[in-house]
């Protein structure tokens, strides 16, 4: 792999940037791999990278039915934070946050991780009590966080309507300075390039059409480019996880919903942090290009269409204008939908399954992007050892029968 550096940029400038190495190969599928990962989004590619780097398992294929990072990795609002309430979730997301902090160096790819801080607004007394509880829990877990009052919020975001005239006046917020945003595509591409350099085969336009299962044990997958054998299969397919589980003959406690986002026309810098509100139900940041990146809630019905409904767009923008009257005349440029696999307790599933050798990493619902490095890291350990990584153990499918749920609706339900 050609390493990227400032010097390389100058060198390639002399050749008019015509001789850059391709970022990854486009290999022909082999007949057999040690581990097959189904799904070439951020989480799947991160899993492949950490398998090769940490566990030294390089005979790995990532099977992707479309192109790399073309699903939810390309469709989110790129927010990264780790201020989750419960110990289990906080540990997992904080693990991820620590990996984010060194990620660009680690994979030699600028993921444009910008720790510009994340505000979660409170608009009612109950909101504020919940925020205090969550921030206290975060600090006990070693995660940075502060409770701000309305004045403190106004100082950070002067354009936010913190007046008492607002229909839902801002009473305060939780503030995580280490939170921020990252460049979503770069995360997928960076992991893909780094994994490919370590010998992982990235098989695009390859769709899994079934699993080879004998005596309750998986030994390969059927694809539209022929059968591929592997003793261990990890499925990281977000919204389509349920479809894969059905092929393997079991059910997951997931429902797939469209979640949409919008970007506006590019503006001059106006918002230098991330603002999220559960109560008026919207979140917003400004990209380096200048677009406002906006999102809100899922469409309530089950859907695989990768497009959202217009009523949801309207509600999203109502929330944004309620918080930021200054944006009332900003025009929206693009709108899209991704299919999120929501879990009943708003926590992910990182788990073995009824089929031996088959593992699922899914159920990230509306908040998977921020977890990309951590999810890949612990799932790689799970695949390599055949048993759950300690951070992944609380997120087993069993919890829906034992009742040991990790209820993160407060921290994850709306704020993604």
């Amino acid at each position: 792999m050609q390493r990227y550096s400032g010097f390389g940029l100058v060198k390639h400038a002399l050749n008019h940037h015509e001789n850059w190495q391709r970022q990854w190969r486009n290999p022909t599928p082999k007949k057999q791999y040690d581990i097959v990962i189904v799904g070439g989004g951020g989480h799947g590619l991160a899993t492949a990278y950490y398998l090769a780097k940490v566990h030294n398992i390089t005979n790995v294929a990532v099977i992707e039915k479309g192109w790399l990072g073309g699903g939810n990795t390309a469709r989110n609002t790129t927010i990264v934070r780790s201020n989750y309430l419960w110990d289990e979730a906080a540990a997992l997301f904080e693990h991820s946050m620590k990996l984010w902090e060194g990620l660009s160096q680690d994979i030699n790819y600028n993921v444009m991780f910008s720790q510009r801080g994340v505000l979660n607004l409170g608009h009612t007394l109950q909101d504020m009590r919940d925020i205090q509880r969550r921030v206290n829990a975060n600090r006990l877990n070693g995660i940075d966080g502060e409770v701000l009052d309305a004045k403190g919020v106004q100082e950070i975001v002067p354009i936010l309507d913190c007046s008492s005239r607002a229909r839902y006046p801002v009473l305060g917020a939780s503030w995580q300075p280490r939170g921020g945003v990252a460049r979503h595509d770069a995360v997928a591409w960076g992991y893909a390039r780094a994994a490919d350099a370590l010998g992982v085969d990235l098989l695009q336009n390859t769709e899994v059409t079934g699993f080879k299962i004998r005596d309750g044990r998986v030994y390969g997958v059927h694809t539209n480019r022929g059968d591929i054998e592997a003793k261990t299969v990890g499925c990281v397919a977000a919204g389509n996880s349920g479809v894969l589980a059905k092929m393997a003959g079991f059910k997951l406690p997931l429902e797939s919903h469209p979640l949409q986002a919008l970007v506006s026309e590019p503006l001059k810098p106006v918002l230098d942090t991330v603002v999220m509100s559960n109560h008026v139900h919207g979140y917003i940041s400004q990209s380096d290009k200048g677009d406002l990146v906006i999102g809100a809630g899922i469409d309530g019905y089950v859907g695989y269409g990768q497009r959202g409904s217009y009523p949801t767009v309207e509600h999203t923008l109502q929330a944004i204008v309620e918080m930021f009257p200054i944006f009332s005349r900003v025009r929206m440029n693009r709108q899209w939908g991704g299919i999120v696999d929501t879990c009943p307790d708003a926590s992910p599933i990182l788990s073995a399954t009824p089929v031996k050798g088959m593992f699922f990493n899914c159920g990230w619902g509306t908040g998977g992007f921020k977890a990309t490095p951590g999810s890949g890291h612990v799932f790689a350990a799970t695949l390599a050892k055949g048993e759950a990584h300690p951070l992944a153990a609380p997120f087993s499918i069993d919890r829906f029968h034992t009742g040991a749920l990790v209820d993160e609706h407060g921290a994850a339900g709306v704020a993604h």
């Binding site: 192109w67 479809v243 059910k251 406690p253 429902e255 309530g300 089950v302 859907g303 029968h401």
Partner: protein, 130 residues
């Protein structure tokens, strides 16, 4: 935007008058005190979540406020049927597949998302590469 026929109002109304309430025809365990954790967990949390024909419960929340059922395709979002509570759907994944077999039309997969990923498109791909 869905245009939904409410079987009670007997009119088409806009999506915003309604709320989706998840999978229809869920059977509460007859004897919840004595069911196993497995049965209770399955009832509470596990859903079909199909990519295809889905029977789901909706409520006409700002209209007649009655619950009813919709049969809808979850990939192309086509509403195939709405029917009252207590009725059974006349269109299901099975009846659709049977109809298609009879008329000699290949069943729509609904699952192919990527251009060029269908096996029968292989010829096209080869052509494009040549």
């Amino acid at each position: 935007m869905f245009h939904i026929y409410c079987p009670y109002c007997e009119e088409h109304r806009e999506e915003e008058e309604f709320h989706p309430r998840g999978q229809a025809h869920l059977q509460r365990p007859a004897d919840p005190e004595n069911c196993s954790d497995k049965e209770w967990g399955d009832y509470l949390f596990f859903r079909d979540n199909p990519r295809g024909i889905h029977h789901e419960l909706w409520v006409h929340s700002v209209g007649c406020r009655k619950f009813f059922n919709i049969t809808r395709h979850t990939a192309n979002y086509e509403i195939l049927e709405t029917y009252k509570m207590g009725e059974r759907p006349s269109i299901t994944a099975e009846t659709l597949a049977a109809d298609e077999r009879q008329s000699g039309v290949q069943a729509a997969s609904g699952g192919w998302q990527t251009v060029g990923a269908r096996p029968e498109d292989e010829a096209l791909n080869t052509e494009a590469r040549a």
